[in-house]
Structures are given as C-alpha cells and as structure tokens.
Subunit: 346 residues, 2 copies
C-alpha cells in the first residue's frame, strides 16, 4: 500500500520490509547466495515479484566495477554499410547481456571527443569504433584509461589495435572469377573514386586476378574516378562501350554503379545478362533486389564482421590485457549469384 504512493522504483529495502526480513537476507535470497530456509527465500521472492522489484543496475555496476555497457561510436550512422554491422555487434553483445550506447559522430572530431568523454564517465566496459570505409584513421583518445577498444571497418595503423576489415581483394577476385566462369572473355572494370582504399583494392585485385588467369585486360578497359553512384556507372559504361563494343563482362566496384551500367547498356541495345554480364559489389538489398535484372554481387558479410568485432571486444573485457590483440583481420567476402550474369558455362 505504502508503495503505491511513491512512483520511484522499489528498492531491496522495500522487499525486505514486505517479507519481514533483513535487507542482507533479502539480498541473499534474491541472488541465490548463502544458506537460507526455503520458506524465507520464497517469502522474499514473492515479495519481490509483488513489488515488481528489479535491482538497480547502477549500484550493481558500482559494486562490480563493470557496467555491462559498451559504447558504439559510428562515424556514419545513416550510411548503408553501418546497418548490418551494427546489427551484428548488437546481436553479439545482447547475447552477453550487454547494452549498447549509440553515438553518432558524423565525422565531427569535437562531437566524437564529447561522446568518448561521456562514455568513459558512464564507465562503459568497452568501445567499438565503426567506420564506413577501409581507409586508416587515427585511434580515439581515451586518455590514461584502460578501456578496451576495437575498430570495425576502418582501421588504425599502429600494429597494436584490434581492427576488423573487409577483404576487398577477396571480393574482387571472386567477382572477376565469376565473370570468367560464366564464359566471359572481354572483361572490364568500372572503379569507384580512387581516393578510397576500397576502390584501390578492388582495382588491384581485378588486375591480378586477370593476370593470374592469363586474361588480357581490354585496352582502356578500366575506367574509374567517378562517384559511388548510378550516374557514374551510366556514364562509365557508355565510355567503356564506345571504345570496346566487344566487352562482354563488367565488374563494377559497387551496386549503384552496376545499376547505372545496366541502364546504359540497355540504351545501347545490349541486354544483361545475355550480351553482357554484370557483377556488382556490396550486396546492398535496396539496389541489388530492385535492379532489373537482380544483381549478382559481392556480399561483404558485415553482419559477421560485427559479430567478430563484438566477440573480440567481449574477450578483451572479460580477460583484460591478457588477451593478445587481434591486429588487423580481414574477413572474406561471399559471391551472391542472381540474374545479372547468366548461367556458368560448363
């Protein structure tokens, strides 16, 4: 009755009072510690449920020196890449009963600093820094704290930080080889902006894969320097076909570029996949599944990347500095076959 007056959460003292035991006894009963008479335990438990009692995690954290809380620093929260990454991280941490503080930094250094400071003050057990491209970045400054930090998609080049990356070379190789497997001979590449490490890696791997399999790269068969969008893909495909009407396969550096390329090819009277096979990169549902035909593309396994990053952080949290850091680990990609390449030749 008395409780219904106040609107603050019931405390263990309330439970103890209702059950007619001491506060220490109530604690033991609720945590299953020590030796208690079964009836007492029951009495306490029913008092607790009756009151809807949940121990205040703030206090428990204070006592345990752990908050079961981590911070997620995302530089580009609304970006398409972050989403499965965040989902993977959240899945893994939720399994470990850990809650995630979401902090979006929009590549604003000052904002990042504030968020970090706030996270540290809130005593998070660890921090995950999430990027949206594979270029190197400075490590975050956590002062003299020993809070574990891992990086996901975006890495710190100091040789002593755990970073989880996409293996762009692996993906590009799989894309290129798939074009070979469906019987394409004159294979071209439409690249992204060369300032991005991701674009560079995909290009390099395209070249080495072609060489490894003794395929000749068509002259001017590599075009790049545009943006990651359909407009560039459209323009690039036109440029490409103007030089080489015999191109029969194109590895595009991303799905939106592939979308634009398909559009251009249709204008030129080439059908995909009958005349030309197209492979994208990203497996971005929004594009790959709404393209016509649906895109064969490379999945970067971001969900798994998030899972790995989450697991690594958990290890560091639970085993402290005894855990050897992972260094930069690159996760392989997966080829997702849909309709833009046609069937493999036997």
């Amino acid at each position: 009755m008395a409780r219904s007056i106040t609107n603050s959460a019931p405390t263990i003292r309330d439970v103890a009072n209702l059950a007619g035991v001491s506060i220490g006894t109530a604690s033991k009963a609720l945590n299953g510690k020590g030796q208690l008479k079964a009836t007492t335990r029951l009495r306490v438990e029913s008092a607790a449920t009756q009151l809807g009692f949940r121990p205040n995690e703030l206090v428990r954290s204070l006592l345990r020196g752990r908050t079961y809380t981590v911070g997620l620093l995302a530089d580009d929260f609304v970006g398409r890449f972050s989403m499965p990454l965040l989902a993977g991280i959240e899945d893994t941490l939720a399994d470990a009963e850990i809650s995630v503080f979401l902090c979006t930094t929009r590549e604003n250094v000052e904002l990042e600093r504030k968020h970090i400071s706030s996270l540290l003050a809130k005593q998070v057990d660890g921090i995950i820094v999430c990027g949206h491209r594979s270029d190197p970045r400075p490590s975050i400054d956590i002062g003299n704290r020993k809070t574990p930090v891992v990086y996901a998609y975006g890495y710190v080049d100091d040789g002593k930080t755990s970073c989880f990356q996409v293996d762009n070379a692996d993906g590009a190789r799989k894309a290129t080889e798939h074009l070979m497997n469906v019987g394409r001979k004159r294979i071209a590449h439409i690249g992204g902006p060369w300032s991005w490490r991701d674009a560079q890696k995909r290009l390099q791997a395209f070249i080495t894969t072609m060489q490894d399999h003794h395929y000749e790269i068509p002259e001017n068969g590599i075009v790049g320097g545009g943006n990651w969008d359909a407009r560039w893909g459209y323009q690039a495909a036109h440029q490409l076909m103007a030089n080489h009407s015999d191109i029969d396969g194109i590895f595009c550096a991303c799905d939106t570029i592939a979308l634009g390329a398909i559009d251009a090819l249709r204008e030129l009277g080439r059908t995909v996949p009958d005349d030309v096979s197209i492979v994208g990169f990203d497996n971005w549902d929004a594009i790959a599944l709404n393209s016509h035909p649906n895109l064969t593309t490379i999945d970067m396994n971001f969900h798994q990347l998030g899972v790995n990053a989450g697991r690594a952080l958990l290890e560091m949290i639970e085993h402290g500095e005894n855990v050897p850091h992972h260094g930069v680990v690159s996760l392989p990609c997966t080829l997702v076959i849909r309709d833009s390449c046609g069937a493999p030749t036997p």
Copy 2:
C-alpha cells in the same frame, strides 16, 4: 606516481589527496559550488586535469535519481525508415547530453521484454519505441514504473500515449496535386500491400484529392496488392498500361514501386517524364537518386519526426507527469521535385 600503478579511473579522493584538501572541498571546487578560496579551487582543478579526472556518472546518477540515459526500442533497426528517425532522435537527445541505449527487437516479443527489463534496471530516464509502419501496436509493459515513453512511427491507440506519425494523407495529396500541376489529366495509382495502413491512407487520399479537383479516376486506374518492391511496380505498370494506354501520370505508393514502373514504361516505349510523369513516396535516397530519371517523390520528414519524438520525451522527463501528453500527432510530408515529372505547366 601512485596513480600510475592502478589502471582504474581516478576518483575524487585521488584529486583531493593530490590537491591536499578534503574530499568535500574538492567536490565544491569541481562543481563551482559554495565559497572557496581561489587558490584552493585552482589547486583542485589542476590536480583534476593532471589526473584526467572525470566524475563517475554512475554515482552521480544514483545521487540525482536521473541517469541522462534513454532507451531506444527499434523493431526493425536495419530498416530503411529507422535510420533518419534514429538520427533525429539521437541529435535531439545528444544536445541535451543524453546517451541512447540502442535495443533492436526484430518484432520478437520475448526479446523486447528482456530489453525493457534491462533498460528499466539501468534506470533510463525514458524510452522511445520506434516502428517502421503506421499501424497500431500494443503499448510496451513497464510494470508500475512511471518512466516516460513515446512512440515514433507506429502508434498506440489508447488515447493517452504520445505518438508521432507520418501524415500519409498529406503526402499522397501533395503527390497527386503535383501530377495535376505538371498538366497530367489521366492519373493512376499503384498502391502497396493493402494490409498496411500506410498503403490504405495513401490510396484514400489519392481518391479524395482526385475528387476534390474534379478529376476522373481512370477505370481500373488503381492497382494494388503487391509488395513494396520494384518487381511489383514493374508488373503493376504493365497491367495498368495494358488497360489504359492514355495514362499520363502515376502516383506510386513508394520509391521502389516507382523504379519498377519506370522500367516497365521504358519497355513499353514510353519515356519518363516526357510521356508519363511519375511520383514516388519515401524519398529513399538509395532509390530516388539512383533511379533514371531521378525520382520526384514525397519525403516523410523522418528526421524531423525523430526530433519531435525526442523533444516530447525530454519534456516528459524534465516536467514529469505535469506535461499534457501529445496524443497522436501526424507530421506533414514534403514534395521533393526531381526529374520524373517534368516541368509544371504555367
């Protein structure tokens, strides 16, 4: 020196020791409270910076009865709609120095229950429930707690809950009127799945807008029942044009449907926007900006919706139950003009 041995965060006691004052004095100095000799204050401050001291928020929260923390319950975190919504919420709360716990529930009731329980135990100041469609939903169960809760995109139909919704009717009206403004006479509608309230509202508003302006709806000029994807848009446009080769404007219930419709029209030899004008709905960048031509579409102002939801929650947190609840508020949409409709007729 002593401090460099331990790796836990410096406490106010450490600061007080270093400054040679009592712990109470240190607190006053750091919080600018009470009367202190300037030199003492300075001594404490420099000790604090030297140690990199940040007060433990856990403890402060315990003392203040507020954690400066809210929970974000998202049923569909990876959905395209949640993103700007979350960004708006986070922006608003970050301004108020509030951190956000991200909880994705994947429409899993058990998971939702666990998350809520955990949030409550962590003493969050409030909870925002984020949906991805405007259909009604049950309210979350927070027991006898008085924690403020608001709903964003998805609402509770009990007349006493603050819910923030998209005004689908407003958006559909603007879309339809724009088609009229560019001079279209034979206007059709491709709807989404009728089981979605969003699809129903858009349809209804299309009809009333047409009637209000004394436009005749072409017979069989409304097709619906497919999914929210390009495949359906493609199919529906074919169906539509088979009956009515004179259709010159189509209001599509979403951007992906519009993408598919454009594709179909091109196959039929109709160019967009010269022969037929197309308006989408969502202003989903991924689609609208990568479509060819770029889509004229309706923006649901999700960012603003998130901002409003965040602000409402803040009010409730700061003014308790004295704040009148907002009820269900619907925010207007915005027409975004790009290239799929052509220029307005004067």
